[in-house]
């Protein structure tokens, strides 16, 4: 038995020991792998690009299957995202693939708000995960992770440079998601133009500080291939699901009157490189980056917004629990205070309105009184007048009667006189 090395360090430092024989924990990676295979994998792709640029066709070509897709119209009023989830299986590996499409991107005349729905969607997925993480009873192991692992940004093959919309959108997205820019419909650019175009795009991205996803070069197994691929960004791809007979093979290609563009021919386009990088080599790394970098950044910003800190002024580590409780109390206190305030305001307002109403009532009352008095005055006057008129009438009647009797008695008198 070999002597063990004993390092004379304090207890907190770990010691390197050499083993006397085969223990068997080198099967740990295998155990991990078999567990993840049984669990199944999940991968979420976001495709950002103008309508008709070839996003759906490229997805069909990449995964060698036909995802159902209707053609989008150019006349959407605003951008919206359309996520679709599919279950794929290859050998014994299950993949839950979610493809999110941006519908209507680049079609509006005013594109200033085009990036907002995309950023909102990405944030919502992060938020959902955060909520799940903060729950009391949580089940992260079978949570359907919808966070976007990779954003494929489709650049139109103008041959000059990026469009202004591309630059603005990528700047908004680079801190939230891994971006891989690709040149779509690359069969319209000749080789020399393509070279210049790629250089121009990369220089524009660098000069504007846009951080695109760099394939990792720290793992020796893949460092060589990854670093050579990094030099080929952005990938110029051509997608096709139609098969054409070339020589004695049937390959996926596009048939033109002047030739056949083969999708899987490396000298025709970079499709094979994209597939290698995206699916065969770096898929797991993309998921890790999303979780470790982008999600952590989001989480930190969100929690800081809510007022949490990692260390308090006495530089003692805060426990999240305590902070949470404190925050909650504060919040409740605030709430109560606000309620009180509102109640006070309400009461005072009510009083005011009451006072006003009372005043108005009084006014009305006064008016009423006044009117009543006037009315009575008028009535009195009218009464007086009536009496006057009655008196007159009576007087008149009396005179009439008097006159009548007089006239009656007059002929009598005459008669009397005559008789006499």
């Amino acid at each position: 038995m070999a002597a063990t090395d004993v390092d004379i360090f304090s207890n907190e430092e770990k010691r390197n020991l050499s083993l006397g024989g085969h223990v068997g924990f080198d099967s740990l990676p295998d155990q991990l792998v078999s567990k993840s295979v049984t669990q199944g994998f999940c991968f979420n792709i976001l495709c950002v690009g103008e309508t008709g640029i070839g996003k759906s066709t490229l997805m069909n070509t990449l995964f060698n299957t036909m995802f159902e897709n209707e053609e989008a119209s150019h006349y959407q009023n605003s951008v919206y995202l359309r996520p679709r989830t599919y279950d794929l299986q290859e050998s014994n590996v299950h993949l839950k693939l979610t493809i999110v499409d941006t519908v209507g991107f680049g079609d509006q005349i005013n594109k200033e708000d085009s990036y907002k729905p995309i950023v909102d969607y990405i944030d919502t997925q992060f938020e959902n995960y955060l909520q799940e993480e903060l729950k009391i009873k949580r089940s992260l192991f079978n949570y359907h992770d919808t966070r976007i692992h990779i954003c494929l940004y489709f650049i139109a093959p103008t041959g000059h440079s990026l469009k202004s919309l591309d630059l603005v959108t990528m700047k908004k997205l680079d801190s939230k998601v891994n971006i891989i820019p690709i040149i779509a419909k690359a069969d319209t650019i000749s080789k020399s133009e393509l070279h210049k175009f790629k250089i121009k795009i990369m220089s524009e991205l660098v000069s504007n500080g846009v951080q695109i996803y760099q394939f990792p070069t720290d793992d020796e197994a893949v460092t060589e291939i990854n670093s050579s691929m990094n030099a080929h960004l952005p990938f110029a791809v051509v997608g096709s699901v139609e098969e054409v007979k070339v020589g004695n093979k049937t390959v996926r290609a596009r048939q033109y009157p002047w030739g056949v563009v083969q999708v899987e021919n490396e000298s025709h386009c970079d499709f094979v490189k994209l597939r290698e990088m995206l699916i065969r080599v770096n898929m797991e790394d993309l998921r890790e980056q999303t979780h470790a970098r982008h999600y952590e950044l989001y989480r930190r910003c969100k929690l800081e917004e809510m007022g949490f800190k990692d260390t308090d002024p006495d530089s003692q580590p805060f426990s999240l629990q305590e902070t949470y409780e404190a925050k909650r109390k504060e919040f409740l206190g605030d709430l109560q205070r606000k309620e009180e305030e509102m109640r006070q305001m309400f009461v005072s307002k009510v009083k005011e309105t009451e006072a006003e109403l009372k005043e108005k009532e009084k006014e009305l009352h006064d008016k009423f009184e006044q009117l009543k008095r006037m009315h009575q005055e008028e009535k009195r006057k009218v009464e007086e007048k009536r009496r006057d008129i009655e008196e007159e009438m009576n007087a008149f009647n009396r005179r009439k009667v008097a006159a009548e009797t007089l006239s009656l008695s007059q002929p009598l008198k005459k008669d009397k006189d005559k008789k006499n």
Binding site: G52, I109, T158, S164, T188, E204
Partner: protein
Amino acid sequence: MSTNIRFKNRFIKPEDSEDRQYVGFATLPNQVHRKSVKKGFDFTLMVAGESGLGKSTLVNSLFLTDLYKDRKLLNAEERISQTVEITKHTVDIEEKGVKLKLTIVDTPGFGDAVNNNECWKPITDYIDQQFEQYFRDESGLNRKNILDNRVHCCLYFIPPFGHGLRPIDVEFMKALHEKVNIIPLIAKADCLTPNEIKKLKDRVRDEIEKFGIKVYQFPECDSDEDEEFKQLDKELKECTPLAVIGSNTVVEARGQRVRGRVYPWGIVEVENQSHCDFVKLRSMLIRSHMHDLKDVTCDVHYENYRAQCIQDMTSKLTQDNRVDSPLPILPLPTPDAETERLIKMKDEELKRMQEMLEKMQQQIHEKEQ
């Protein structure tokens, strides 16, 4: 290739001139031909569309010259809030004694900014300006040397990457279809297979009809034109919008030196009819319909503009008698005395009501104080 398909040279035989029935005005076409060659022609072509669609390359290929030397292209960052400019390049070219003064009006910046609201306004303003200038010149006293800067034709480039017309395409064409002859083209057609080209053309034609856009229509052939011309015309009409590819670099293909683009999977020949419609565009634009485009501009678009202009001016004049007309115009027929009287009455009523309103306002104001 004959420079003028329609005009056939009449060689006057000596016997004819002795024929008593022969008057001789059949030589008029000859005389017109001679005079026009002496005078020279001019043509103004406008190209519009987003940047990166191959407009400059196509113009260079059409006229086989290099109009766009030393062109500076903007970066994406600079284009975020770019406004549309109008640039003009004028060249004098000559072929078999016929001189052509060609002006290309370019619209850099169209559709490039993030917010493209009303980005076609500088273009419509430019076209109106040219019309206005011609209108003034035409109404002036000295009309000997009028410069015709009116835009005769606008080539609008539709990107082939989409499924049809986009909102900005529709808005642009609707803003311009009554001011200039619009010929829509599908740019960079080498990214579409023949099936896709056909689908896209049908789509674009349907959408043009649906939105009521009046693009340039080829005139109907006269029945006495030769068969070849009629056939060409028919094919042309069925092919719109034309799908074009441009290139000014000469490459070697099938043993010949042709203009084209080299790809690893083949060589696209610009002048091959089965590859793209460039030849049709060139023959239509230059060889057969150039003069018709000019005529439609003069007879239809310019006359519409002029009539509208005069109507606006006279309606303004009757309202305000102090302004003198800058241009001599015929007096419009005066409206009836009856309607005039009614109008006067209504005017006075309005004035009275306004005064009353003012008085009331004043009263209220005083009461408040």
